[in-house]
Symmetry: D2
Subunit: 319 residues, 4 copies
């Protein structure tokens, strides 16, 4: 019998994004995406989708440039957090404990091989909606906003990395990530990885940074309920003058129905819908895509736009 | 620190339904629901939705009457199966091992307190589509059929039980089920339970059998991708002369978008969509609905139809 | 050869609704339905959906009670208006010319046999969006609001009438209405009429007032793009505390996908979607529904709620 | 007062398509698009969508090459047909009467300035569904097929023409077409025209043939109910191995949600949804798109694929 899988991480909890134009970025997330502000501290504003159960899922921090501050995963139990910290300590990747963050208890930070800051924690603050945001149905975290794109909840983030294999090995080994899909080039180089801790088919991804610059960010994704919601989002982005990079269309990889835009700070934001697609198999074997297969473009034939391979945050010159 | 949760069950794998008119039932599942036959043995036909990764998710067995043959859950690992069997042995609920079933390895059977046969197993046969059913995208189990309602995958089943609390305690204790929602009457009696092993908000449910007849069945549910798919299903059931009991509408409990029909054998079948709703919190506290709250009807006000509280299979007189 | 049909009326232009709580009603139409204020005069506020090409489609007038002020149809040409006026003059139904209304030229008013005020006009003011409401695409009247239910355009109204046959004959004879569907009771009494001037399957309807009170109103309907939009509207009405009377469901008559609510002034408002259903045949023969057929309920079996047959505006005692 | 508009044409009735592989084309229209065969005569098979009220909307004719056989419009009345014939006689465009076609009465044929055969008729055969295709609701022409893409009804066709202005003038002058949108290049050349006889925003279109070959065809379009139906169609075309040329995406011109594929005979076929968009104004002024505006691509930024400007049927060498 193989050893049992590690099941210590429950899900992606939040990410921190940097913006050099934080007020414009805030207006995008609140007025266009339809998110709600649920906290503020120093240069950071805390934001949430209406179905995020924790206090927030996005930290928007004013900064000199754009990019990912950190990504945080919630553990399944205090014991699970202890086990992951024990594994990370002495690994060379650890940064150490951080306390006094808004909305959650002690968090242990590390760096993935590519340099992104990754945080794990267990204790969390469940969102308590103020009276005017109380939902009609008690099994829902917050009232549906009926404003802008109405993003539901954080879905995943996509980092860039110079060495995908190194990053994949790190997340599998230290956090118990299950790789569900991969791109492997003809020469054996890994070019993309999609990893999950849940029954979603991925909670985060890394794709290759063609500029060979470490620590950069590709996009963050918020979930909507239906493909029709994504189409409507495209209408709304168009009306709001938001730059639509590509989509709506269906990814071949993971079959997500996607739409990519840039928020005013330059970070790429995706709204997506995965329909009823779930990975229920506990022993799912990674789907491997070849160069030839990826050359066919997206599911229905859309060719991947050039900027999708080149635009990351922060810009290379700021890193 | 509380003890850690049991995570040994991966997901609902399949259910067996009895029908006294198996040919008519088969035609319903294949021609109207759009399922695919993937096996046959004795009086049983094995069926699947196009996104079920295992060989089948439904066993349709010719019988003298209707109702549930058994419900089967897949464990996460061989070790997990061993642990659950160890817990069940000597509990008074066990039936014992069963072998030689189509599509999966050794399974251990038991009865829940209400008498339904529950089976757990680990080894399984991944579906291999024949050439004419190979999908265009390699991360999909089978070609989208484009026939009838096109159900995607097994979602959950709903049993009836005389003593809900007893059944809930059984599934929590022996299988590690996490109860996400409940109905508790004013006198403290439990009237409904929704339980999950995954990030879906429930994998099965039990509601009270008002006839006090043990071992009966309420419905099986197949998932569709969108609410629009459920509406289209209603159009298709109407054209096919299938009895629509209630819906489409949105449940207050679990917020599922539902549509209930009766298959020719009399078993209630639901097609449903849960949108992007997932329970990601590892420590989700059950939502408790009161009598007063349930009296309001479904989410948008539809009153629950009388037969929904009375119709179960098999009919009381056959039990 | 039969005489040629009269084609003088182009479409329903606007309706005037009375409300005894005009501020609350206004908030409903603007904040919940997502309409835009495009004028104000005396006790009236003028409102529009984002795709109405004329300046407004709804006049909301403060009054002692609820109900229909008037309904207005736009003619196809000045000549067409002249012809219709000539036909009405001396008919006993005419009221006469009215001028100086906001947004359109001279209008000729009459009363239908049941006493509702009907107005016809030709000259109209095309909506000119202010800069902040300019759409991104030049073939659209106004920016998509991304607020509340986002109703697109006025679709139809439904009046109540004591004598349906008299009302039908009036609209067919004097305005050239084409009846597309009818309900005729077993004793030959007409109980409902759906009439069009366009390729929409109806522009207005009358159903029987069971209280035998003349001049009352059943509902006004705004169009949304998809059935999914109607479902989302139900979510939004629920969150906003708006009374949902019935729906969403599909009408058997006309197959419209419907949702009925009450605005704060008591008038019934429908949001509906007719999909791609159009009546293209110039010689469409009316579909006649019998009592037995109507007893089956709506398309998928929903029984018509009692209040749907009794609630009209104004209340009987105010008439 | 301006002269009154001509309202003699009711709607597009059917088109005839040529195919050199008629059996493969037939399989595409029946098995993939979900159409129904409603007649056969000589080398022609007659096909219909489930909501076409006439016997058929597509004639598929075996031929040496691909392209448009003819396009047919139904008049509003016998008198309207007489008037249009009177106008065409002696115009230089007329061909003359044709009789004995399946499904409709005497038709008068002419050629548009670019050489396409255009036919007008009044008498028609309403579709009578055989028992197995009778719909559940009596206001529907035929049972919803629940097979493949399930196209609803013929929506429009798009011809190619060397001189757009000449073609536009012809349809406006002789048939009373109302131009709703146009593309006019910087040098004043007309490059596209969208024309309607109904409240649909167009019933046919012509765009410039860059090869300067007369009489060629761009595409025929069938309507679906929702944008979600178009997305599902893309899934189905992908599974069926049908070549997807471009889409799904939203046109800037006319805002149609589109998806283009090639049927086996080489003719381009579109499935599209116009949502609730209708042109109700009887005096709609054409929207004119400039070169600069068209350079922006489709509504959400998709660049128009090269083949869309070059692929027409028949191929230039066959003309």
């Amino acid at each position: 019998m193989s050893p049992e899988p590690v099941l210590d991480i429950a899900h992606l909890g939040h990410i921190e994004l940097y913006s050099a134009v934080p007020e414009k970025s805030l207006s995008f997330f609140v007025d266009v995406l339809g998110m709600t502000v649920s906290g503020q501290k120093g240069d950071s504003v805390y934001l949430r989708g209406w179905d995020d159960y924790e206090r927030y899922s996005l930290v928007l921090t004013g900064s000199e440039t754009s990019g990912l501050g950190h990504a945080a995963f919630r553990c399944r139990s205090p014991q699970a957090l202890e086990r992951r910290v024990a594994a990370l300590k002495g690994s060379g990747f650890e940064i150490g404990w951080t306390e006094n963050e808004i909305g959650h208890g002690p968090a242990f930070r590390c760096r993935d091989p590519d340099g992104h800051v990754i945080e794990i924690y267990y204790e969390t603050e469940w969102y308590q909606a103020p009276p005017e945001l109380k939902p009609a149905l008690k099994n829902q975290a917050q009232r549906y906003p009926a404003r802008g794109v109405n993003v539901r909840r954080l879905d995943h983030f996509n980092g860039l990395a110079v060495d995908i294999r190194a990053n994949r090995t790190f997340f599998e080994t230290y956090l118990g990530g299950r790789t569900t899909e991969q791109i492997i080039l003809d020469d054996g180089t890994e070019a993309g990885m999609w990893v999950t801790f849940t029954n979603k088919s991925y909670d985060f991804a890394y794709t290759r940074d063609h500029t060979n610059t470490p620590g950069r960010f590709h996009h963050v994704t918020y979930a909507l309920d239906s493909r029709e919601d994504i189409l409507r989002a495209a209408d709304i982005f168009l009306e709001a003058g938001v730059h639509i990079e590509t989509g709506p269309h269906k990814h071949a990889v993971q079959q997500t129905f996607f739409l990519y835009v840039y928020e005013p700070g330059g970070n790429r934001v995706e709204v997506a819908n995965a329909g009823a697609r779930l990975v229920l198999a506990p022993d799912w074997k990674p789907i491997v895509w070849t160069e030839a297969e990826r050359r066919k473009g997206q599911a229905w034939g859309l060719k991947t736009i050039e900027s999708f391979h080149t635009h990351g945050t922060p810009p290379v010159e700021h890193r």
